[in-house]
């Protein structure tokens, strides 16, 4: 039993290290930001998740005392990685609005998100948003 648990922990540690290294290598190697985002957000998060789960099994096996802190950290990282990736991509597009010239037409009535004006939402917005702004000063 002990050798099996040890094997499992070692395998998770090695997998975590390899995935973390691959994610950061992708960050250093890939050609532009939109491809670079893939490395850390997918491979890197998986690597850290594997290390955290290895730590959880190790503590469970060593201390005979279940702790779910690592599960909490893993869940937090898995939840926040797409949010930060979305924010970084948005800020990149905000700084490089010339990227729009490379895009083909969308083929629909609407343009590209975050480059073109959004379709009119006057129908479903309350008056307080679309009406004239009243300022007190």
């Amino acid at each position: 039993m002990d050798i099996l648990v040890e094997l499992l922990i070692s395998a998770l540690l090695v997998i975590g290290g390899v995935f973390g290294l691959v994610g950061s290598y992708g960050l250093a190697k890939l050609p532009d930001l939109m491809t670079r985002l893939h490395g850390p957000t997918k491979a890197g998060t998986l690597g850290v998740g594997a290390v955290l789960i290895a730590s959880m099994i190790f503590m469970l096996w060593e201390e005979r005392d279940p702790s779910f802190h690592e599960l909490m950290i893993t869940l937090f990282l898995f939840l926040t990685a797409p949010i930060t990736a979305n924010f970084i991509a948005k800020s990149f597009l905000h700084r490089h609005s010339d990227e729009k010239a490379k895009l083909p037409p969308t083929g629909t009535d609407y343009g590209w998100a975050s480059f073109d004006e959004p379709p009119s939402t006057a129908d479903d917005e309350p008056d307080s948003l679309t009406g004239p702004r009243r300022r007190s000063n």
Binding site: L21, S24, Y25, G44, S55, L77
Partner: protein, 89 residues
Amino acid sequence: MIGYALHFSFACFAIALLLNLYRLAKGPSIADRVLALDTMVINGIALLILYGITSETTVYFEAALLFAMVGFISTVAYCRFILRGDIIE
């Protein structure tokens, strides 16, 4: 066996941190630098957890959780600053 795996994992994450530092120094756009900093925080969490396994204590989990939260908030604040020119409007 766990000792060898730990050393291998330590080496992997150390090289990963160096690669992130390269991207942080070189990164052509500002978003690259923010992404490199965010990845450095995540790799730092992994190193902290590995050190916790080495020393067989559970003290470092709280530190790792704090690292994760502060890293997320700082990344969002930086991106928001780039997008809006202000953090809390």
